[in-house]
Symmetry: D2
Subunit: 349 residues, 4 copies
Amino acid sequence: MSRIPVAILGATGAVGQRFLQLLAEHPLFEVVEVAASDRSAGKAYREACVWRLPGAPPAGVAGLTVSTTEAPFRSRLLFSGLDSSVAGEVEAALAAKGHAVVSNSRNHRMDPDVPLLIPEVNADHLDALGAQRRRTGGGYIVTNPNCSVVGLAMALAPLHRAFGVEAAAVVTLQALSGAGYPGVASLDVVDNVIPFIGGGEEEKIESEPRKILGHFEDGGFVAAAMTISASVHRVAVSDGHTMAILVRLAKPASPGDAAAALASFRGEPQERRLPSAPERPIHVLDAADRPQPRLDRDRENGMAVSVGRIRPDGLFHLRLEALVHNTIRGAAGAAILNAELLQARGLLP
Amino acid sequence: MSRIPVAILGATGAVGQRFLQLLAEHPLFEVVEVAASDRSAGKAYREACVWRLPGAPPAGVAGLTVSTTEAPFRSRLLFSGLDSSVAGEVEAALAAKGHAVVSNSRNHRMDPDVPLLIPEVNADHLDALGAQRRRTGGGYIVTNPNCSVVGLAMALAPLHRAFGVEAAAVVTLQALSGAGYPGVASLDVVDNVIPFIGGGEEEKIESEPRKILGHFEDGGFVAAAMTISASVHRVAVSDGHTMAILVRLAKPASPGDAAAALASFRGEPQERRLPSAPERPIHVLDAADRPQPRLDRDRENGMAVSVGRIRPDGLFHLRLEALVHNTIRGAAGAAILNAELLQARGLLP
Amino acid sequence: MSRIPVAILGATGAVGQRFLQLLAEHPLFEVVEVAASDRSAGKAYREACVWRLPGAPPAGVAGLTVSTTEAPFRSRLLFSGLDSSVAGEVEAALAAKGHAVVSNSRNHRMDPDVPLLIPEVNADHLDALGAQRRRTGGGYIVTNPNCSVVGLAMALAPLHRAFGVEAAAVVTLQALSGAGYPGVASLDVVDNVIPFIGGGEEEKIESEPRKILGHFEDGGFVAAAMTISASVHRVAVSDGHTMAILVRLAKPASPGDAAAALASFRGEPQERRLPSAPERPIHVLDAADRPQPRLDRDRENGMAVSVGRIRPDGLFHLRLEALVHNTIRGAAGAAILNAELLQARGLLP
Amino acid sequence: MSRIPVAILGATGAVGQRFLQLLAEHPLFEVVEVAASDRSAGKAYREACVWRLPGAPPAGVAGLTVSTTEAPFRSRLLFSGLDSSVAGEVEAALAAKGHAVVSNSRNHRMDPDVPLLIPEVNADHLDALGAQRRRTGGGYIVTNPNCSVVGLAMALAPLHRAFGVEAAAVVTLQALSGAGYPGVASLDVVDNVIPFIGGGEEEKIESEPRKILGHFEDGGFVAAAMTISASVHRVAVSDGHTMAILVRLAKPASPGDAAAALASFRGEPQERRLPSAPERPIHVLDAADRPQPRLDRDRENGMAVSVGRIRPDGLFHLRLEALVHNTIRGAAGAAILNAELLQARGLLP
């Protein structure tokens, strides 16, 4: 059976490279087009791109000629890793042309008819696509959350379902790859920590989970009634965002109850056995000193979130540590799983 | 004028080495005795010690012969950087012999007549020495807090005085030197974070500040009525503990009011112009991405705590980032400042 | 077809863990026994071992009970990752009992009838097994080289065959995992380099390649007539030894000729298609800034050596950079490939 | 006595910041002017500059208004930390206007009448200034070497004087600050090594020492007759270049003889007691694992070069490890020492 042709927008960037790596042997999707900025357009991908992942670009992609994002795409499904400085307009234009744009960019995440999707958590948000497609004339945009938010929302979702999350304070220790390439200067992280990330990182972490954990009803998104406080840090880790999370619950739960809710969490990707779906979306780790980025970020090919140190808290009800592979489950892998769900539901154009 | 002779207990360890470094040219104190474990005893210091600080051991100390901690000490003032596995008994025995033991070890910190002292914050706790000396027969123990707690308590103290701190949640990113030497294995921190520190680190951070910010009255310590939640992490930083702190106040304050209270904070060390006292105990930094360990840990020779990113919080009232040099202000330098205050008050035996 | 049962000696150590990881789904060998020090003996492997590799111990091994190395082993084939403090006697005793001991330890590497084997380079050294088995009564020891030496000898072998290597100077930048766990203290490598590695590292690098690149004839090993100078450094890298190598040749060669000789290098593992054999033992990289540990150590599952920056030298004839995954191709993977060759040649007892 | 007014060119860059830091309390020189690119011109220094060194910009400089490099300077002495893309023309123009330009830039280092100066090594090269001043009409340029070359040439100079250096092979492990700011991307150095540095780094290391260790006679520089081979690497170290050096001597020397020659090395800066001169230009370290960047780079305020591991070599005569603080002794501190020598000799205009 032939695979579905797809295009990667922003293919030479950090997220674009992850898209290509993860799709190299994908059972459903085949990368046949790569697009990037004007500077890269017209070159063979292998020349246009400084490949920053281990090894070399996938053989099938290295020889593709890079196009601009204005090019007509024969692929109906487009993955976008575009920089937010251009993603807003480009993605809207492509949706208006009838494409399904599955985007990692932040620009349209909070739009009133655009799903901010984590398939295990809020697959029902795809109901918004009807209204969106009426607006655009057929194409649409589906987004995945900010890389930290994926980890946070996945850790909160089972607790919210079971016990109701009223408030959460999260302090992050984020990996360098989250800033793209070249991103953070090496002198800033050797023997150092930076207690700040630009681009509204804290605001995104405080707002996106409320949309994700909310509902789509009566034609609109209703945000979850919870308050989130985020304090972010950049640390000398290549991949893997670590988060200390404090949670206040509507219905207090013991660490054991919380662990059970987290470990048993499953969603539509698991039911449908989507190709990129982890068997267990959340790995609950018992060891006192886990999760750790270098040891746990690659669980289930980087698609599982790890949670550990679930313990009572004197101020909130519970505290725990969560870890997400920020460029896989937190970015390119998230978008691919979104597209797999769209395909399984028959929503691809 | 001749300097006061002092001995360093645990002189070959990480904290012991900092004592020697900081006392190398001290105007009041002169290291004339060094003590360590039986394994080192009898050797010249330069042979007994693998010096882990930049450069070489101070010339005046390198030739001293290391004694055991059971040796009779001619110095009346003893600085202790002993490991907690032995500090408890050794320090008590030496106090019973009439020595002033100024200790960085945790063993006696919470004792009911032992001051847990930060001279800028709770110099009045020295009132406990009267009872303690009656108990011991003349000698005494004065302790400084856990390395993280020094930073936390100094950041909270001005806010507590001005606005009343009801609760604080702190998430730490702690330096490797806090674990001593060899301490943390390098494989555990390269491209990694460890969300755990043994030895009851979180418990110390949750309890010690309450004693420090409390009062000594009617012959006993009354802990401050505040709740603290601590979540600790080890990161690949040599020196300098970074902390994200959320604070709930009895009397809500704006970030500007908090910054003013922090920046203007002064105490007895500043009034008395103690040799190791920073001019400004707390440096309030305006830049959006500060404090950072590599850039800010050495402010005022490592004796100032840096605070930045003071901003409102959706869950608590305020949040901020604090940084303390864990082996200077958070350990050896803290003890030396304690001894300077004892000397200035005429409390040295 | 059933797999060959094998035991891992030193199974809880750093090399032992790599053995278990690499053998988890091996087509020929199945780990059925694990042995370690007396301290671990009697415990289930999952309890005896602090697993330091990503994820968790292989399911099939986690429940095995750890034995001592004195235990009788039902496996005829034993992989040894024993510490050199005990490997010498233990391995000799097990060979005397008839086992094939495929060892990563250094103790017997230079023995006059023990092959120091890199299957692509000196498979003919297995001719020494005849004499060795006569001596032991049937069992034998086969060793693989020091982790740096594997990379060096594999980079030199094609040049030696084609042009004759008269001398080589190598300066290494070695990974932390080479020192085992806990190994190097984190404070020693953060913002630092250590220009020294104990245990005779430089001597091993200067002597082992001469045996490897020599011949076995008339019942003995004849070392290659070349001089090697080694200067070693430890750097803050988890896995992957980088080496700058200067080479003097008997028959001068251009960088292009050298690159061709390296890239086309193949040996018996490739001919026999051994399960762990890389398709191309040496990857010659064109980019000016490669090889790099993080990007290139995992080529061909860590079994390929990467070489780059081949260029003329003003003092020697050529210089180049080589990279080897020190715990895979340089240790456990090397031993496994050795065992695969033994099996293919019908030399397993 | 009033200090000599000086200007810093390229004052906002990495080297410019070191100039300001080192000159903050200099006994001879006072920074009264700061110049940088057009982008910074017109702003107060504190606003124009993102200060990357610990603490804050010196108080006396923070309020200076940044000028362009075309501005007329009232200072006769100018320190240049300009980027090499502009330094060539700017420095020549300023020398033509009568200024003494003491430069860290590479552009004029190999000019036939420009001293490439290390005051301890080749103070006689200042004889070239006569010819240069006749050419320019009065002003002149004096340069210091590449940051690695300072360490290499200082380590070779005593050996060259005593025994004659015929050849040297050097392999460097260079710090991140050598690439300026932002310089190397953090993702390129976390858990990694880069075996390459652009901008002709290896060529500079192979050529500059020959000029430095040569003579000025009959109106021209005569390069030393030695061959140097350089292989460079970037490692995750903030400051401090480490070098493994192999040396072939005209007159073979034992490690002890070499150590004696290195340890006793002194020059004109020591005789004249120049303010920035280290008491001992070369610290010979006995410990088997030294020098190390974090522990040894700051010896004598970063102005001493450390040498260790002096040992015989099988290919060359000797090998050793050297360490230089690349932004102090290898850049800004080098230039300041050059200016101090010019002042002491009465050569300042």
